[in-house]
Amino acid sequence: MGSRLRQVASLLRSNREAALGAVIVLAFAVTSLVVEAGILLNLQVVPYSPIQQNVGPLLASPSLAHPFGTDSLGRDLFSRIIYAMPNDVAVGYVVVASALAVGSVLGSFAGIYGGIADELLMRFTDVFFALPVLVLAMVIALLLGSGVTNMMIVLAIVWWPPYARLARGEALKVAHQNYIEAARLSGLKARKLIFEHVIPNISGTLLVYATLDIGTVILTYSGLAYVGLAVRYPYPDWGLMVSDYNAYVLSAPWLPLFPGLMISLGVIGFSLLGDGIKETMEKR
């Protein structure tokens, strides 16, 4: 693992875009942790309570006191945006991690062993790709009910198939390598073969995809939030804020702009970082 960390460090030094991405990703992660810790310890880490009304004038434009302005109920937009950050970040990481775990194991087994299991997985994912993920998530969300945790579950349910597809393809490439045959000749059992040779060798590609994909999860989650499936009032959420503040597009354009901007910023961070890693990997 040490060598991997060193690789990442040298990448960040040589690729300015990737470094910028890493800074954004890190800043989001740290802020989220601080906010989460604040909630757990009952400390207020943001300037104002995100739900307290009339902390400033109504619909005030950005100022020193309220860097992102205030909304129609006089709530501080900056505090609301920071307070909402952990939702998006956590959903991104959790959903991608679960998809990565499920997809890489299923995909590797299917790719290496073929047969009926492979056929089933392929047909299942075929059908799956014909369904719009977001709409499917919405339908399942209707069943589970709204809430951030539920959205995590919903997205985790629909998110793994592309990972399984990718892992299968990569595993097939690995399967044609002679070291897999050599491992069979060494008496390795299926499970060991996959965990010792296949998954370590496809992990690079999958991790790059996952890094890029965290952004996509955040985008999709914000979509679910936008239609009101994620967070209950009065707690803030970026997607929900854009949707709620749409009404003030004319009178207070900063209201929908800032939360939207935060979503973009987060996604850009993961894209830059993922692209950077991908580029260095392909150079090899």
Binding site: V135, V139, S222, V242, L272
Partner: protein, 340 residues
């Protein structure tokens, strides 16, 4: 004919996928908390006992699951998609036939914009690889596909509608105009066929912002794929061999590189359509465009299960149809599939 056989096989596959989708929606409708009737009619089941009874009979809701499944399929295939509580208990099929044409209009125009913009910028970025132009294009598309479509819609709304005031802020046409009669079902096309130019102009102006929002959110994927597959193709042996013939760079690019790179663009195009059709959910609500996307949002808010399930089905049909077209196109372009 190999291509024909291939197309038929893909068609059969498309039908099977749709059958699976139907099954999934059926299963989901049974997973909805409470009894099935409640699921289909929402909280209003108790309010309108007559309706509930008629509904239960039509869908055989008191029979065994396989029987229910059979009648569910029969009803769906006949276009009986249920009744929409969020739209005052009118049949969902009617809602969809009113809203789908508007959604398709947005999807069509945003696809054209997205493809044109994506291809053009992708080709430019590949030809001027690692130049300032390439970097600028990359920054542009990165911003585009990292932003939620509704956010882009809000920005466009602020700029073009409120700030510049050159495009309308919402709706699909000027309501004071006479609507065209139904020929193809698509208002823009119908008005053009009918010669109702006033309506045509108004509808075009209204469709611009929503479809452009979606195009901005999606063209990046095309640019990215076009750029990378062009760069990849330019590295191949056959490009080197074409250069060795003495072909000019332009001939190498347009005669050999571009056609080969377009193969991967076909696959990505069908993905774009999926993205666009789900994207309408967001931009239609921003622009109050009376399409299916907006209906989904109200249906979700009103716990209108039949509405949501039926729109899922319709979305799936559109996506499966696009995938089918893309598959056949792909096979047509790649001789190995066409003839193999």
């Amino acid at each position: 004919m190999n291509l024909l056989r291939f197309a038929l096989r893909r068609l059969l596959f498309a039908v099977l996928v749709l059958a699976s989708v139907l099954t999934i929606t059926f299963v989901l409708s049974h997973l909805i908390p409470g009894n099935v009737l409640q699921a289909w009619l929402g909280r209003s089941a108790a309010q309108f006992p007559n309706l509930a009874a008629a509904y239960a009979q039509k869908y055989h809701l008191t029979d065994s699951i396989p029987v229910q499944y059979f009648y569910y399929l029969v009803n769906m295939l006949q276009g009986n998609l249920g009744i929409s509580p969020s739209r005052g208990f009118i049949p969902v099929g009617q809602v969809i036939s009113e809203t789908l044409p508007f959604t398709l209009q947005i999807v069509f125009f945003s696809f054209i914009f997205s493809l044109a913009m994506g291809l053009l910028l992708g080709i430019l970025a590949a030809r001027y690889y690692r130049s300032p132009a390439d970097n600028a294009i990359r920054l542009f598309y990165l911003g585009g596909y990292s932003s939620p479509p509704y956010f882009i819609a809000v920005i466009l709304l602020i700029v073009f509608s409120f700030y510049l005031g050159i495009l309308p802020s919402g709706g699909a046409y000027d309501v004071s105009l006479t609507t065209p009669s139904i020929i193809t079902g698509l208002p823009i096309l119908d008005s053009l066929l009918e010669g109702n130019l006033a309506y045509f102009q108004s509808a075009m102006v209204h469709v611009l912002l929503p479809s452009f929002s979606l195009a901005l959110a999606s063209f990046g994927i095309i640019t990215r794929v076009a750029r990378s597959s062009l760069l990849e193709v330019m590295q191949t042996d056959y490009i080197r061999a074409a250069r060795a013939k003495g072909l000019s760079e332009g001939a190498v690019f347009f005669r050999h590189a571009l056609p080969n790179a377009s193969v991967s663009l076909i696959t990505i195009s069908s993905l774009i359509v999926t993205f666009l059709i789900t994207g309408t959910i967001f931009v239609e609500s921003v622009f109050a465009y009376p399409g299916m996307g907006q209906f989904v949002v109200t249906a979700l808010a009103g716990l209108d299960y039949p509405g949501v399930l039926a729109t899922t089905l319709v979305f799936a049909v559109v996506i499966v149809a696009t995938n089918f077209v893309a598959d056949v196109l792909y096979a047509y372009v790649d001789p190995q599939i066409r003839l193999g």
